[in-house]
């Protein structure tokens, strides 16, 4: 065991239990009646609990339904179904698992005219999302020594923690412009191209952002973190396109088998975390005034049209612009590394950038809805006005990162999915095992060796590796298959890792 691993183990939650007896087993989650509507969809009726305003639906096959039913995911989903102004159904995607407030993988839409907006329904990592970059190089051309050097150089150029090591600093008016304009401002500063903006959700710039609603504390906490990954399940992965499912869509995305791509998974870092902290606290204080009662205090919310609701929406959009800019800054750093390492083959094209923790104001039918996606990816079809012009024939790209060392997927949204799930899909494999349980299976060093034995280059701390091991997650192939079979999105390509950089 390495020195660093001894440290990690010594301070793991398990070791810190010290001389206390082990915790008694937790009470089993409540059980609710349910009916299977199709091979990939289960409904919990509105009568399952007295305070539900709408039924709850879970996109899952038999196996995933069993996994999802094991923890408190369904209880949390039913809590969401009680919120004021919710419409249609409260939904959970096939990768859903227990979170705090909303379940992770939760989707809920609230009427903009009389419904709520909830910071807890977006989560602390506002606009956590995924960006896929395509290189012009083939994996076969890269070779292991050059891959090793590429991963190490990327790791140095893209810090996992704070902005230290990153060459970018935005403060004062510059930071205000990042918050207000997102990637548009980065383009003005020479850090994004016009082509980049064309293939980012909302062009990486939400006009409804209000930097004045972002506290000084949030700016202090995250202002210097632009261009960094963060911890937990966030990563930058160098991958190879392993398989294509839809050749026409792959051609439109200019993806081919063997091609090297880069997947970036991160969000708004400390700035977004603090925005959420600030507004959960603020809304907790005003709910009584708005006559809102909740089954869970973390669902703190306010009417979307109220001053508190509008202020949070402005702050959340500003944090989202920061997150889009963060992934753009990482893209810029990755391009520099690719140019240096691979010369003329270094071009990295943005295939797409999409959020999976966000509340968006969207038109669905005759109603404006505030659609909360917490650990769920927006997936608009070919005919939606927000689908980029170059993808009108196929639908908006949907990027699904697998767990570390497993496959990731590129899908495209469908018009049918817009009606079925408010244009939403899963966002990953979804955790199936707690961090403590994952550490009991293998140490970080063992996880690292397992990945390296498969030829995957790893740059990560051992403590994080054990917690994020592939077996701690659901089977991403199964999760994506449910989304595909249910018609929420269509499979285009399967990507497999060559190298991973983590916090």
């Amino acid at each position: 065991m390495s020195r660093k691993e001894r440290k990690a183990r010594a301070h793991s939650p398990k070791a810190q239990a010290g001389n206390r007896p082990p915790a008694p087993p937790k009470a089993p989650p409540p059980s609710y009646p349910s009916v299977r509507l199709s091979p990939n969809l289960v409904e919990i009726p509105i009568t399952a609990r007295g305070d539900m305003n709408v039924p709850a639906r879970v996109w899952a096959d038999e196996e995933l339904w069993k996994q999802i039913s094991r923890d408190r995911t369904l209880h949390q989903l039913i809590n969401v179904s009680t919120l004021p102004g919710i419409t249609g159904t409260a939904q959970a995607m096939p990768d859903a698992h227990e979170g705090y407030g909303f379940p992770v993988g939760g989707v809920a839409a609230f009427r903009a005219r009389d419904g709520i907006i909830s910071p807890g329904g977006v989560g602390y990592d506002i606009n956590c999302g995924v960006r896929l970059l395509a290189s012009e190089i083939e994996a076969g051309e890269l070779g292991h020594p050059r891959l090793e050097s590429l991963i190490q150089d990327l790791g140095r150029a893209i810090p996992s923690g704070t902005g230290r090591g990153s060459h970018l600093r935005f403060a004062g008016e510059d930071l205000d412009r990042v918050l207000a304009e997102g990637c548009t401002y980065l383009a003005e500063r020479g850090l994004a191209t016009a082509e980049d903006l064309d293939t980012i959700e909302a062009r990486g710039s939400l006009a409804t952002a209000d930097p004045r609603a972002v506290s000084d504390r949030a700016r202090q906490r995250g202002g210097d973190q632009l261009g960094s990954i963060g911890s937990g399940n966030h990563f930058v992965e160098v991958q190879r396109v392993e398989k294509l499912f839809d050749l026409a869509a792959a051609e439109a995305l200019r993806l081919r088998v063997g091609q090297v791509v880069i997947l970036i998974h991160t969000g708004s870092r400390g700035l977004g975390h603090q925005v959420c902290t600030d507004y959960v606290r603020a809304m907790d204080a005003v709910m009584a005034r708005h006559g809102i009662q909740l089954p869970d205090r973390e669902l703190a919310c306010a009417p979307f049209q109220s001053p508190e609701g509008q202020k949070y929406f402005g702050a959340m959009c500003a944090a989202a612009n920061f997150a889009f800019s963060n992934r753009q800054a990482i893209t810029w750093a990755a391009r520099e590394v690719f140019r240096k390492t691979l010369g003329g083959q270094g071009g990295l094209r943005v295939i797409y950038d999409v959020a999976h923790n966000m509340a968006k104001l969207e038109r669905h039918g005759e109603e404006d809805l505030v659609v909360h996606r917490k650990g769920a990816t927006r997936a608009f079809g070919p005919s939606h006005p927000e689908t980029p012009a170059i993808y009108k024939g196929i639908g908006q790209p949907v990027l699904i990162p697998g767990s570390m060392g497993t496959a990731s997927y590129v899908l495209v949204g469908t018009d049918e999915g817009f009606d079925l799930s408010y244009g939403s899909t899963c966002h990953g494999a979804g955790r199936a095992m707690s961090r403590t349980a994952a550490k009991k299976v293998q140490s970080g060093a063992e996880v690292r060796k397992g990945l390296e034995d498969r030829g995957i280059v790893v740059r990560a701390s051992v403590g994080e590796l054990a917690e994020e091991a592939p077996y701690a997650y659901k089977d991403v192939d199964r999760v994506v298959e449910v989304v595909h079979q249910a018609g929420l999105a269509r499979k285009v390509a399967r990507l497999v890792p060559l190298g991973v950089i983590k916090g």
Binding site: K7, Q16, G18, R20
Partner: protein, 141 residues
């Protein structure tokens, strides 16, 4: 070895803390130390019981006892990320259900600990138990 009165419960995706103490002051101090040790897990092997260096004053005002615990932990988190200084030992100078004033000793770190995003209200409970109080808090990680 100092006796710890906290433990970590299983949660699918987050980190759940359970802490016991004879008083609200003890509960705040123990929960704060648990968070500090969690933040330092990759940085410092032997966290001293009373770190050297200047103490810092921390003050929190909240609407009730549960919110006070969440706000207190989020303040420790904020200091760790912004000041690169992780508080691990606390003298609680004043405490009520809505007000907390403490003197904290801590450990400087080279990089801001990025592990924990926030202390949440989900599943939060501060309950009277025989011989004192017990609280559970879930951290978003």
């Amino acid at each position: 070895m100092r006796k710890r009165r906290h433990r970590w419960l299983d949660h699918t995706s987050e980190v759940q803390l359970q802490v016991e103490a004879e008083s609200l002051a003890g509960l705040a101090a123990e929960a704060g130390r648990a968070l500090g040790l969690l933040l330092l897990r990759d940085e410092v092997h032997d966290v001293p019981a009373r770190p050297e260096g200047p103490a810092r004053e921390i003050q929190v005002e909240s609407v009730d006892r549960e919110a006070l615990l969440v706000d207190w932990l989020n303040e420790i988190l904020f200091l760790a990320e912004v000041e690169r200084w992780v508080a691990v030992e606390f003298d609680i100078l004043e405490i009520s259900s809505t007000h907390l004033e403490a003197r904290a000793l801590g450990v400087p770190v080279e990089e801001s600990p990025a592990l924990v995003k926030a202390a949440t209200f989900h599943g939060l409970a501060v309950e009277e138990r025989a011989g004192g109080l017990q609280a559970e808090v879930i951290f978003d990680v």
